[in-house]
Symmetry: C2
Subunit: 94 residues, 2 copies
């Protein structure tokens, strides 16, 4: 199983292959981060909440069970005031 | 952030502090496992599905979004035919 660590360990994730395809489950510790995307990503908040700025959008808050979609070859900003757990699905181009 | 690894890395988890309290998000690779509990645990399947045998119960299947509760100071068996992602909440005695 692949274990990923970013931003000096403040963001970590575990790879998981699920019916929906390739994904990671992970934890974001308090802070502000920018993530680049290769494929389209569907991020669902599993626990906690975060403020997210998608390309061309204003800041929005997402809580438990809510999903945001990040276009491929782009990036998004995310701010966590407390720990956040998420699952990220990587969507292959159809 | 604490990263836990069990059964030669076939089960891994990340600690997260969320509004509900102390939790871990993790991945279970295909296989059969037995986990002991200290405090009561509420396990929610985030992706995939698993067969679970709780103390004194028959085997049951749990899928995405479904939760099972494991009593404190006990154990449960879990069988995964494919990868499973979960969040486990550790419930402090009230």
């Amino acid at each position: 199983m692949q274990h990923n660590s970013y931003f000096e360990g403040k963001v970590q994730s575990l790879a998981v292959n699920v019916p929906e395809g390739r994904a990671t489950v992970g934890v974001i510790e308090p802070g502000s981060y920018t993530f680049g995307t290769d494929s389209e990503e569907h991020m669902t908040i599993v626990a906690g909440s975060a403020r997210v700025k998608l390309p061309g959008d204003d800041w929005q808050s997402f809580g438990k069970g809510e999903t945001f979609i990040v276009p491929p070859k782009s990036s998004f900003d995310i701010e966590a005031a407390a720990d956040v757990a998420y699952i990220c699905y990587y969507i292959s181009p159809s």
